[in-house]
Symmetry: C2
Subunit: 465 residues, 2 copies
């Protein structure tokens, strides 16, 4: 012992950095190893994890779930009216983003958007009556995810709204997403003024039938190759969709011009789409939902098949754990705020768009999109680092989505809830930030993390007999 | 001396690697420093260089030339008929890529393209007569560059052809480029069959007036911001133009649909443009030509203002050396050949498109376009390395063209002929490869280098009293 302390010390310090500080202060050398106990020290979750790690049944189930995700071939098949094409959509039902939530717990933008949807449907004549109706229980609310659907931000889908229809013939499942309204005063940020409702009506009456005619002319559109190409053009197809939107319009415009749709409607549709860099986002989300629903329901699998936020709760679903949501408080995003706004103005993390990260895109594919750091913060090196970090918590690389900057390696995909709890590495999410007041709109963008608690709860549930 | 060799040797070997080998063979340590004498050991060029390096008059002239290049704001102003809008275009004149060359020395694709242009103009009734006419001297040939114009590959511009018109109001100069025909059997690769001529006629009679109507609706289009955005989307706007072409169609399509052009022509124009990932190339070239012509003619400047190839000669022009070309044999490109073709089938390096590299784009901006290596060969690391290497031979970074992968540094731009000779670092060029027989078309793509000899000749000329 005395011999040990007689010579100069060279210490490897694992975990808490404060233990290394007195050594350094006295002239010793201490190398700090970044380590934290599994489940952030939660004993119960750690014990559950110990049962699951290395379990060959979980490994086999995860291999199957990951294969189903990888084999998916989402195709845009058309456009439909939500009330007609969503199998379980009620007549007076409104779908929203994230895990289920009751009216009084909803965040401002979601309440505003629901009031807007009630006005849009003509169920009430003004915003005050719409809110009263929503509070009264006269309208049923449900998660988009319970209907194979997704929606960005508030994620509102009401029966008359048009939705993209995506099919995955490899597994026989379908998915749906509403259409992107553009930026500014829009329903998904809680705005419900007359101009918002008028735009939604135009989307229903003009844009949707025009797009339907164009899609009929174009035929089914394979979404994975288009998304893969966009990754080679600087998109991560969550918070940056300029390439994918541009590629889509190149495919759609000639088809629209050959279609049976009236020329004036075609011109208006093309102008509307061409003016919106995020138009593709909702198709990216539907494609991701189709890929992940294919992987859902594999008994024993710890693969995460949904991450979604309602502005109050952050929830995940896991392939082997059925319809159950595992939730935690949704964080407020520490991002780049637009001039005049700050964290104090922000709603908590909101929207179904984290389905893209769940599918290995968005923050997981940030290495494809170095230019996005001007929008979400950080450096191009951070973008690479985020993608590389996600390899530690995912089951596979998706060879259909390659990353040029990483020598064409596939995106890390298929989050293993066990590995998140084990490593403490939290799924990274690129996201827009909504103002907490309905209708103000987007006030920033940033990189956020899924809360560990969701994954710990899922692991605890998995380990139950 | 004996003391030196008594202990173990640690040698720094500068230049020829073979001197280090015997040291290593006897167990010594020799670090190899990659170095070559200036001008590759050419004594006359080296002596000329010694006069020019550090000369404050050259430095001041280069600063002025580089500023003029950086200040350029090329705008697409419209489309016109070459014979009407090119100020010095003769009635029976055909312009071609690269430095001037007489008919009998021209490469196969250029001869084929000229025969095609004669047929297209109706000056001869069949290809044999067209070739006889070209050989007879009845048609005048001139370099595109002598008319503020550029053209990819054979670069043929005849009087009836439509050309893009680009203006640089910052300097008061204009530039021109022909329109991209697409891939396959096209004039620029020397094809001159009936389908090729019919397409050119359609471009003249339908596409050009339709685009003119669309541009009249759109107004003048700033090209630099569009190119800058494309660099953030994986293009280097020479050999990869998918993003720029997509962004262009997003701007053009709504304008075309609002224009006075007939609906059927608009639909045909949009389909034609949407089908061609390289449609923007010719606009990129015209923009680069406008930026560099602004920098041309500064007395005493060693800044390169054009690099161009006619398939036989590689030529450069230098800001302070007037209209003179400094030429060397055009190299055959050692690239990725399409299946069934190899270097033995290739024409030597061809086309005015190296104007993009001269302007700091193309190979110089390869760091923006890692995915291009699947087309031109190499790895994404090579792409970064090419851009970084070019910083040693350029005068500036162009802050208008930033590279996300290099922390948003500007592209290296403004080639200094002195530095090329001094360092032996040759300008890198991304290029397509034409078959040596006219009309076969593109048979590959690759990365090539401008020949040192062009720059040595320019430096020798500069040093003359």
């Amino acid at each position: 012992m005395s011999a040990l302390f007689g010579g100069p010390l060279s210490v490897l310090n694992v975990g808490l950095a404060s233990f290394a500080e007195p050594i350094a202060a006295r002239g010793g050398t201490a190398t700090q190893l970044d380590w934290a106990p599994p489940a952030a020290g939660d004993r119960a979750a750690g014990a559950a994890l110990a049962k699951l790690v290395g379990d060959p049944r979980v490994e086999a189930a995860n291999a199957k779930a990951a294969d189903l995700y990888l084999a998916a071939q989402p195709r845009l098949t058309g456009i439909g009216r939500a009330g007609e094409v969503l199998p379980k959509m009620g007549k007076r039902m409104i779908l929203h983003a994230g895990p289920p939530i009751e009216w009084k717990r909803m965040c401002g933008p979601m309440q505003g958007a629901i009031a807007g949807a009630i006005l849009y449907e003509g169920w009430a004549g003004d915003a005050a009556r719409a809110r009263a109706m929503a509070a009264s229980g006269d309208v049923a609310f449900d998660s988009c995810h319970h209907h194979a659907a997704v929606g960005p931000m508030a994620g509102i889908i009401s029966p008359s709204m048009p939705v993209w229809r995506v099919a995955n013939p490899a597994h026989g499942n379908q998915s749906f997403c509403n259409l992107n309204e553009g930026l500014g005063k829009v329903l998904r940020f809680g705005a419900n003024s007359a101009e918002v409702i008028a735009r939604l009506k135009w989307m229903e009456k003009t844009l949707a039938p025009t797009l339907a005619a164009g899609l009929a002319q174009l035929g089914e559109l394979e979404l994975k190759p288009l998304m893969a190409q966009a990754l080679h053009m600087g998109d991560e197809v969550h918070n940056r969709n300029v390439a994918a939107s541009s590629l889509l319009i190149r495919r759609l415009a000639p088809a629209l011009l050959k279609s049976t749709a009236p020329a004036a409607d075609v011109a208006a549709a093309i102008e509307f789409i061409a003016g919106n860099d995020h138009f593709f986002l909702n198709l990216s989300m539907a494609a991701c939902k189709a890929m992940l629903d294919a992987a859902h329901g594999v008994a024993g699998s710890s693969m995460v098949t949904a991450m979604a936020r309602n502005g109050v709760d952050f929830g995940i679903r896991v392939s082997g754990l059925g319809a159950q949501w595992f939730t935690a408080a949704a964080p407020v995003v520490d991002g780049l705020y637009f001039s005049g706004y700050g964290k104090q103005d922000a709603a908590a993390d909101l929207g179904d768009s984290a389905i893209t990260e769940t599918a290995g895109l968005g923050g997981f594919a940030m290495a494809a999109a170095p230019a996005i750091v001007k929008f979400v913060g950080g450096t191009p090196q951070d973008a690479l680092a985020n993608t590389l970090a996600m390899t530690h918590i995912t089951l596979r690389r998706n060879g259909a989505f390659t990353l040029p900057a990483l020598d064409f390696a596939g995106t890390p995909a298929g989050i293993d809830a066990r590995r998140v709890v084990d490593t403490g590495i939290l799924p990274v999410i690129n996201t827009g930030i909504a103002h907490q007041e309905p209708g103000v709109g987007q006030i920033g963008a940033g990189v956020t993390r899924a809360p560990l608690e969701c994954f710990s709860k899922a692991v605890l549930r998995m380990a139950q007999p």
